[in-house]
């Protein structure tokens, strides 16, 4: 019966089994996860057993399948729906359970304390938004807590100050945008987090919200019904600052850089130009394009809860492939604009290239080098 309900909910009958979803799915490069076949089984297999489908946790919700589908289906959403069924049935990997629990209790998936959310900003002179500001910088979970990604948040602050942006943060009032909760199948939790954020945002008369993470950006832009604020990913905002001449990049950064399009920024939201614009504005920097870029970019496997679940083939990592491709290009830096990409790619760089090999950086870190 489950299959039939899914078929109704996700219009699976309209699928023509062309295979374009599976052909583009990054996971199909390394695991047995076959999204096209999953759809078909939901349609024809009366006693499909979802509970045993561990492969469901492989999906990184990169949405390539949805973008490629010629019949307007949304297989990504179906995976999320299937995961909800697993979550309801309690069949979830323990690491995912922990992340979800932490989200519910602490407002972040990293089992960190709510009160420590703004600790990274101590001593930087960052305003709380309650003190009034035009721009709200929505930091996000990893940039708030993860020591590696905190550097990105700090870089952001440095640049904003340089450009004299009047901005503030939510501080400890900020909670996770919920994007990952939704993609791990916890729709209820996502809605709760959304309500909390919406309520907080309503209280402050800001003009613009800028996010570090494309995941937060995507959630606000596409999944926060009722949010009447302008939202930008930082690459859009910073590219604007550079354009207006507010952020002069004067120092040379003599490095060969290539850029990884994060799925949630590029494929899903068609933001391809701004990150490149920023990189090209940095004097001395040479930008080399990866063959698989823009619409054809290769997923780093960081989305859809994959930061907390290894998937069925942890040995092989697409991030390794990606780092290798960057090295083949002769790049010294693999730049990106997403906390998850940063973490997965840096991890891979350590394995593939070792210390001192190719460096993985956020665009923002390169920007402050040029200040």
């Amino acid at each position: 019966m489950e299959g039939q309900n899914l078929a109704q909910a996700y219009r699976l009958f309209e699928c023509i089994q062309c295979g374009r979803c599976t052909g583009g799915c990054p996971m199909s490069l390394k695991t047995r996860f076959n999204i096209r076949r999953l759809i078909y089984e939901a349609l024809v297999d009366e006693d499909m057993d979802l509970q045993s489908k561990e492969v469901l946790w492989d999906c990184s919700t990169c949405a390539t399948c949805t973008l490629r589908c010629p019949k307007g289906l949304d297989p990504t959403d179906m995976v999320i729906g299937m995961r909800s069924i697993l979550v309801d049935g309690g069949r979830i990997p323990p690491t995912i359970r922990d992340a979800l629990k932490s989200l519910a209790i602490r407002g972040n998936p990293l089992t960190m304390a709510r009160e420590e959310r703004a600790d990274w900003a101590e001593g930087l002179g960052v305003k709380e938004i309650s003190e009034g500001a035009e721009v709200l910088y929505f930091v996000g979970c990893s940039p708030s807590y993860d020591p590696r990604v905190q550097k990105v948040a700090k870089a952001m602050v440095q640049a904003f100050k340089k450009a004299e942006v009047e901005f503030g943060i939510l501080g400890n009032e900020e909670v996770c945008c919920g994007s990952e909760a939704r993609r791990m199948g916890e729709t209820g939790l996502f809605e709760m987090l959304r309500e909390m954020n919406l309520e907080t945002l309503e209280r402050y008369p800001v003009e613009l919200v800028v996010t570090t993470s494309p995941h937060c950006y995507n959630a606000f832009q596409n999944e926060y019904q009722g949010l009447n604020l302008k939202v930008q990913h930082y690459t859009q905002f910073v590219a604007g600052l550079i354009n207006e001449g507010r952020l002069p990049l004067s120092k040379e950064v003599r490095r060969i850089v290539t850029y990884q399009d994060p799925c949630f920024l590029g494929k899903q939201n068609k933001i391809f130009e701004e990150p490149r614009k920023i990189l090209r504005s940095i004097p001395g920097l040479e930008l080399r394009e990866l063959d698989r870029s823009r619409e054809r970019s290769l997923c780093c496997e960081g989305g859809g809860g994959r930061m907390w679940a290894e998937g069925t083939n942890p040995e092989e990592r697409l991030a390794h492939t990606r780092v290798q491709e960057a090295m083949d290009l002769g790049a010294e830096v693999l730049a990106t604009a997403c906390p998850f990409c940063l973490l997965t790619l840096e991890d891979a760089a350590k394995t593939v290239a070792g210390e001192g090999g190719i460096q993985v950086m956020d665009i923002m870190e390169l920007v402050v080098e040029a200040l």
């Binding site: 078929a7 009958f13 309209e14 023509i16 076949r37 078909y40 089984e41 024809v44 019949k71």
Partner: protein
């Protein structure tokens, strides 16, 4: 009909020779038409009436062409008018005789493809043109045995005194400048694929029979029922007797993918809780609005499974369709209480005879051969003889109409040039 209308509109006299008692052909038998779901008879009836009323068209129904001598501009055509045993000038089409016939309800109706029964005297369908009764000489007891009660029941019933058992075959000679052949198609005989049990299981039917079942003016008044019951699991099988060298039919029949999609839609519309599955090899939704229609039908919940059925057998009351689902790579057994075979389009059984008669050639698939497959699709090797519709190859209605008009264009050219000479 379309070809006749165009030529007649251009001011030339047209003789339309139809073998059956009424014009209309297969389209008259259809329920709705893909992809717009227009009611077939609603759009066809006006055309039929136009043909009947056109001052430049002389309709010769229940007749056959038996010879054509001469050439472009001066054909001499022999037409055999079969006896209807009904005086068409008197007959009003009231149908009293039909009701009265002793054999009423005993003979399977050609028009309804056996889904209903008629008598020995019959009017094929209510909108028939001309609306005249015809007596089937092979079945009528009076004709075959010489007696039918004291007085034939039909004769007694007819207040117009139209029944005339004295009628004889007549030969009509026509002189024409050009000829269009538009004799259409036959359907593949599903019995030639015994593995599907057609003819054995009453709930295995053909697509054309389905049309009659689902037609509002058909014998069930549009209710899809078998022995009074609505089927809950319906399986459609495509390419029956097409794309199948095992029965000597290599070509694709071009219309069955779409009429299957249409019929699957009709089942879903009339029996919303029915499970409808279509078994296919490729879905050939190539025409204007076709892919959109195919999308719509799937959206309504029709399940398309790739794999051609191999066999049908029975388990209890239910049919079991055995097939490989090639997308699963597994063989499956589907339960069904109605199986509809999308039987293909074949050349008319007598196409060869007609070809000989008119000195036309046929292509390897058995349909009439056009002069050039790319640039001269309606001309034949014989100057002055043109092709229209499914007799040249399978076609849907719009393509058939276009070809008919194209043939008409060639004829108009021929006739106008003849005019100028004279």
């Amino acid at each position: 009909m379309q070809a006749s209308l165009d030529i007649a509109d251009a001011g030339f006299l047209v003789y339309l020779v139809e073998r059956e008692p009424s014009i209309g052909g297969h389209m008259a038998q259809l329920d709705k038409t893909f992809p717009t779901l227009d009611c077939s008879s609603c759009i066809l009836t006006p055309k039929m009436v136009d043909v009947a009323r056109h001052p430049n068209i002389q309709l010769i129904s229940y007749a056959e062409v038996v010879g054509a001598d001469g050439g472009i501009g001066h054909f001499k055509v022999g037409v055999k008018q079969k006896p209807r045993y009904v005086d068409v000038d008197r007959c009003t089409g009231c149908g009293l005789c039909v009701e009265a016939c002793r054999l009423k309800g005993r003979i399977s109706s050609e028009f309804d493809v056996g889904v209903s029964k008629r008598g020995a005297v019959y009017i094929p369908f209510p909108q028939a043109v001309p609306l005249k009764a015809t007596i089937d000489p092979e079945r009528c007891v009076f004709i075959t045995r010489g007696v039918c009660g004291k007085v034939p029941a039909c004769e007694e019933a007819c207040s117009a005194e139209a029944i005339d058992f004295q009628q004889k075959e007549e030969m009509i000679g026509l002189e024409v400048g050009a000829i269009i052949v538009a004799t259409g198609f036959d359907l593949f005989d599903a019995r030639l694929k015994p593995e599907f049990g057609y003819g054995l299981y009453p709930n295995v039917i053909t697509g054309l029979q389905f049309e009659r079942l689902s037609s509002a003016s058909g014998p069930t008044r549009g209710k899809i029922t078998l022995n009074g019951q609505e089927p809950k699991k319906v399986v459609f099988i495509q390419c029956v007797g097409s794309r199948d060298k095992s029965v000597g039919v290599e070509y694709c029949s071009r219309v069955c993918c779409m009429f299957t999609a249409k019929q699957a839609h009709l089942v879903k519309e009339k029996i919303p809780d029915a499970e409808v599955t279509v078994l296919y090899i490729d879905v050939r939704a190539f025409g204007k609005g076709f892919e959109e229609f195919y999308d719509r039908v799937r959206g309504e919940g029709v399940m398309y499974r790739r794999g051609n059925a191999s066999e049908i057998c029975k388990r209890g009351e239910r049919l079991i369709v055995m097939a490989e689902d090639t997308l699963l790579g597994e063989s499956v057994q589907l339960e069904a209480d109605l199986v509809v075979l999308a039987t293909g389009i074949t050349p008319r059984g007598d196409a060869q005879d007609l070809a000989t008669l008119l000195r036309l050639s046929t292509s390897p698939d058995g349909f009439f051969q056009e002069a050039h497959p790319k640039l001269r699709p309606v001309e034949t090797e014989r100057e002055g003889v043109y092709l229209a519709g499914c007799c040249q190859g399978p076609k849907d209605i719009p393509d058939g109409v276009a070809q008919a008009k194209a043939a008409a264009s060639s004829v108009i050219i021929a006739l106008r040039n003849g005019m100028e000479v004279s």
